[in-house]
Amino acid sequence: MIRKINLLLEPLKYLKIQQNFEARLISTTVNLFNESTAERPATSVANIKSKNTLNKAMKSYLERAQQHDEFMKTEKHQFEIGKRHLANMMGENPETFTQDDIDNAIEYLFPSGLYDKRARPLMKPPEEVFPQRKAAEFDETGRPYHFLFYTGRPNLYQVLHDTVEKINELNNFEDTMIRKNLQPDPNLALELSGSQWLDKNTLEQKLVEPVSDGEYSNFLKAMDRLCSLPYSHKAKDFIMEYRKPLMSNSEAFDVIKPQIGPDGRQFVTTYECRRKRAIGNVTIRFPGTGKISINGQDINYFKGIQQREQLLFPLIFTNMQRKVDIEAEVQDGGESGQAGAIRYGIAWGLRSFIDQEYIENMRLAGLLTPDFRIRERKKPGQKGARKKFTWKKR
């Protein structure tokens, strides 16, 4: 019995050995093959080598970048197709359809009452819609480019680093000037009143990095310290990079030039002055005697004292009561709305006849700021715009 089994097994054993031998054969051929590759021209070897040494970080980055590129490509393609469809819908030539046309078409096709502009439907090229991302911050060996890379906010901390650098420079300069017994020239002093620091969001966009509240306040502190130095005007370019002009200030500057009327007097007309629901046009004539006409009537057009005060306030504020004539046409709205609209029109028009100092004072007094607020509609199911009906659970 045992012998029989042995007999059966015998060829199997042999087979096993044969297989082993075969395996060994294969391995030797592989070795040979490897050796032959080693003797290949140097370029391919270098290629293989560098491929091996390509850092893990770089490899994953390249994959990410490729994905991003493909994604952007499809998005761009879809945007182009959508644009052509939209042009066809609007019956215009798709070749000459611009971004402005797209915006108008979207506004026409999807009218939206949503207050926030960002919440309304939009169609913008994908570069604007998707946030920009940073490129690889390291080379093939994985070594970062920026010396503050490991802080996680290299750009922000670079700005802070540069600020300290500037502060040190200015301090050294101040020391040499003190040694020479020189004082800083007051005429050169840095003028910062017309601008303000970039707000947090703008700074984030500029640096392409998230900035926390604490970091932002640190940024402000460092910048204020730099500005407080006596020779800060020497770092003006650096400082101004992180400031932006005040909006209302720049607007107030472009004053309308008065026209000459048929009677030889100068006049300025302000159109579409609004307050609440009221809308009106106001003409100011200079020189005048203080005559006021509102829709053909004099100041008695307004019954209330308060409305008359409103109307006269810009004139009293600038000392022009008896020097100009006012003609106003106003419609819609109630009494106070109409008075407010005229007040704004007078203040806006008066800028043409007074000097810069008064204009700045008027701006600070809030006379040149249009009041856009209008009544919010009542909502169904509640008592007012916001107020709810009284409600008891039981």
């Binding site: 301090n171 101040e174 020391d175 003190i178 040694r179 017994n181």
Partner: protein, 151 residues
Amino acid sequence: MFLRHLSIKFLSPISRRLSDSAVVLEAKTGTYANAFKKFEDLNKPTSEESEPFVSLLKNSKFIDLGDPEGKVVTGKIFHTVDDDLYIDFGWKFHCVCPRPIKNASNYVRGTKVRLRIKELELSTKFLGFEKDLTLLEADCQLLGLVQERSK
């Protein structure tokens, strides 16, 4: 306790390993021995060019000063923030003094001033901490200018 023991060290005679530094390398030695000797050499303070620490410390101004409390030293203003003068007087820490009312404009960066030391390190023990908490500052009293600044 251990510190009392340690402070005795200052009094102990200076022991210098002069003989060790005079090792001459043999030409015929194994590479390992060679390297070993080289390494040994490097580990030693380079006493050829520099004094050992012990004598440096012994001859230093810090030791000359004795008990620093109440001593008058000169320092240099290295930073000013509004009316605070940051003065460096050669110690581990700087000290911060308010700008004196008299001759206030003379106290600018780089000015040499006289100080009376009150305490070299502002540190005290607080409840709940094993170690002293330190402010990383010295406490001094500003006495005045050393001399008129060189113009």
